[in-house]
Amino acid sequence: MKRRNLLASGVAAAALATMGLPALAQNKTKVGFVYVGPVGDGGWTYEHDQARQAVEAEFGDAVETVFVESVPEGPDAERVMTQMALDGADLIFTTSFGYMDPTINVAAKFPDVKFEHATGYKQADNVSVYSARFYEGRAVQGYIAGSMTKSNIIGYIGSFPIPEVIRGINAAYIQAKKVNPDVEFKIVWAYTWFDPAKEAEAATVLIEQGADVILQHTDSTAPQAAAQAAGNVITFGQASDMAEFAPMPRVSSIIDNWAPYYIARTKAVMDGTWTSTSTWDGIGAGMVGIGEISDAVPAEVKAGAEAMRDAIAAGEMHPFTGPLNKQDGSAWLADGETADDGTLAGLNFYVEGIVGDIPQ
């Protein structure tokens, strides 16, 4: 995940200076958070910071949390983590894919400090990895999108062609196609996680080309505003609820809810029961939430979407269930077969029916 910001290193340096204050009490558990964007981004980093505040609320005076925002992925991240560890952090959450190698490097130097890396796949004795099955929420979105589109064109704003984003496109397409065989996906790659002007332009272009549903995998609310201006277009909140755009255009959302996980892991450090784990939770464990489906959605579609949400949560339904073919027509999953986590984690192809190439 590249969320580089030319200027963020300066901000990070300023934040570090204020962080260097000595810890007030020795017996407190100190938890550090490294963020890739500003806490006010209204999406990804905002939700991580909400979870940090939940940790503080849960344990009160027993914990102390520190965070550094807008940390560029790369050497700067390593410096920030090292500084946190030197300042006495017991547990450090690094919340972007690009922090993977820096986390492993710093963890090797501080064997007594526990690390938690989001969305990565490299583990160590003191490094756990965790991520959320956002694609489960995408399946529900695809169902609503396919049911509600009148033009049969669904616009999709992608950020970067990485497995996480491609999983989302596939999951949404499979369900949309199921309820509406005529549906077509138009995919635009923005090559950014966060650029409101560019996201607004991408949404406008998709609407001009006939899309009446916009799905986004970028972090700002700009596409929502563009859809609102256009009128009869529906959207879904991304990472955060974006409820200010409900009931139209935002008809539902995927919400990242990290709080239960962060609280559980902090508790484990306090109790001394922390071990290195790999967690990939979805709707069932509450890590992925489906925002309230608004009244703009017809009642029977809403009921169907909620049934799908509950079936996924209960483990009765898997968004990637065969028969499914790859885009080139070769077989992927047989009838009734579900995709294994290994394949999903590295997913790099479209399913049959999606038009266009994945940029390599």
Binding site: L6, V11, G40, I187, V188, D195, P196, A200, V205, M242
Partner: protein, 304 residues
């Protein structure tokens, strides 16, 4: 591939909107640089303008007052740069970069209470008669007023720089500040006015993003538009009309590449993504014969 899904009229119409923030910021910076000052803080002034404009527009309910506040906010921030570089003789490059960092932080602070709020609507004006012309009408004559104010600023800047005595003095200050000083012109006063004009224009450009283009406030929402404006000034050879061409070209190719992606054109997306930058650089370099103002970036003090 389905090129028929691209509507050329809508494409040209959205080109003008996409180009306006960069155009506004760039025309201000052009005047600053013609006066011999290099202000790299465009990004910081834009984002400050974006938040000031958004805040005032939501408080007062009037987008027009928002734009006025954005211009004032941008000008105030640029005045800080002006005082530092013109009176305290600080290095212009370093001060400009610092201004960008400061602007980003300040705007995040001011914007705390405005995240997730909607801006008041800023309706398009439908120019009577002209707006009804088929094809051309919707492309050119049915935009929000700021698009036309941007165009008017370019025309006004050209007229001022090349047809008035004030413009001649400003250019003289930029070309050779010692000579201008010897002739009795107030170098520092001229430069301060130019810097404030640049700040006001950058503020307007930022407010165009937060009030019209996006329209909402989010931290860091300019996302590099200020740097592109700076680059366009250089590639346009410090000439207003080429700057207009550069900004429209950049805006146009940006919108076009998204259209081509959505239409499923079989060109690798990476090439489409870099195309706005490439096209703008190539065209402006080919026609460039521009020369930087002689005193650009140099510190002036009357005793030297």
């Amino acid at each position: 591939m389905d090129l028929s899904s691209i509507n050329p009229i809508l494409l040209l119409a959205s080109l003008m909107v996409a180009a306006t923030p960069i155009l506004l910021a760039a025309i201000g910076e052009l005047v600053v640089e013609r006066a011999g000052v290099l202000n790299l803080g465009v990004e910081g002034m834009m984002i400050t303008g974006a938040v000031c404009g958004f805040a005032f527009a939501t408080i007062t309910g009037s987008p027009w007052l928002g734009f006025v506040a954005a211009a004032l906010g941008g000008a105030a921030l640029s005045l800080l740069f002006g005082v530092l570089t013109q009176y305290l003789l600080t290095n212009q490059v370093a001060t400009g970069l610092a201004l960008t960092l400061f602007g980003l932080g300040l705007s995040a602070l001011i914007g705390q209470g405005y995240i997730g709020i909607k801006a008041p609507a800023f309706p398009d004006i439908h120019v009577p008669l002209l707006g009804d012309i088929p094809v051309i009408g919707p492309i050119i004559f049915q935009h929000d007023p700021m698009v036309y104010i941007g165009l008017a600023l370019v025309a006004g800047t050209y007229w001022f720089l090349h047809k008035t005595r004030g413009g001649l003095i400003l250019r003289a200050v930029g070309e050779n500040h010692d000579a201008a000083h010897a002739l009795g012109y107030k170098v520092i006063k001229v430069r301060l006015l130019a810097i404030m004009f640049g700040g006001a224009c950058a503020g307007l450009g930022g407010a165009y993003l937060s009030l019209v283009r996006v329209p909402q406030w989010t931290e860091g929402m300019t996302a590099g538009a200020g740097w592109i404006a700076l680059a366009i000034v250089v590639f346009a050879g410090w000439k207003p009309w080429r700057l207009l061409l550069g900004a429209y070209l950049f805006g146009g190719v940006t919108v076009l590449q998204l259209n081509l992606q959505a239409a499923g054109v079989a060109v690798p997306v990476e090439y489409l993504s870099m195309s706005p930058y490439l096209a703008t650089i190539v065209v402006l370099v080919i026609m460039s014969s521009g020369r930087a103002p002689g005193s650009l970036g140099r510190i002036f003090h009357a005793s030297r």
